[in-house]
Subunit: 102 residues, 2 copies
DNA sequence: ATAACATGTGAATATGTGTTCATTTGTTGG
DNA sequence: CCAACAAATGAACACATATTCACATGTTAT
């Protein structure tokens, strides 16, 4: 991997920071496979739609998810393959057996 | 991707949250390619070794980096391929051209 | 043992941020 | 146009956490 320039680093960190909150992460996971409306996310995860909307705004700004309006409802979905790729890699990292030796 | 169980989610979020700070991210990037000592990280990134040590402790606890003592110095390196894989994916995500249309 | 160096740690503070509540904007159907 | 619903937003608060400073621990050489 190339050493990323300084400007990319804050952008990188932004993306990770957004995924680093359990509520936001659950929201992202909820719309990974198929587009899903805001209030459906809210009811599924048992959150207020206000809170979901707040988080989706941040996720959308970072292009982690993309929005698609259908009538009154707005459907959200993962922006691209890299997002699911990152999540898959991290899950492997967790699954990996680890000795207690540091 | 399988839907990750609830316990994995907080573990996942922890990992992302740790990478979501620019200082910690720079530290991780600094020891991605080759093991590097604490004070070398500190001087390279122009940080106090105390701060670097604090962050390394968190990164080590999450098994993002691993420690290796050689004499007085402790060398740190990325724990496994998944970490670099995640970073590579995220960099691709950033590099991807994006329209301003939301 | 002691000095010199490298790393680790605890407490305190300043800053960032997730959540709630109230309100507003946008959209469809009567 | 108006009522009903979905989504978005702003302000305020509570809480988490990154950083600094002072000090402790661990390691090597003399």
């Amino acid at each position: 991997m190339q050493s990323p320039i300084e400007s990319s680093i804050s952008e990188l960190a932004d993306l990770f920071r957004l995924l680093g909150d359990t509520t936001r992460l659950r929201i992202v996971l909820a719309c990974l496979d198929t587009p899903i409306a805001v209030n459906e996310i809210a009811s599924t995860l048992d959150l207020s739609s206000s809170l979901v909307s707040h988080h989706l705004r941040l996720l959308r700004a970072a292009r982690i998810v993309k929005a698609d309006r259908h009538g009154k409802q707005v459907f959200y979905a993962a922006a691209d393959q890299h997002i699911s790729g990152v999540l898959a890699d991290m899950l492997e990292h967790i699954a990996e057996p680890h000795t207690d030796a540091d």
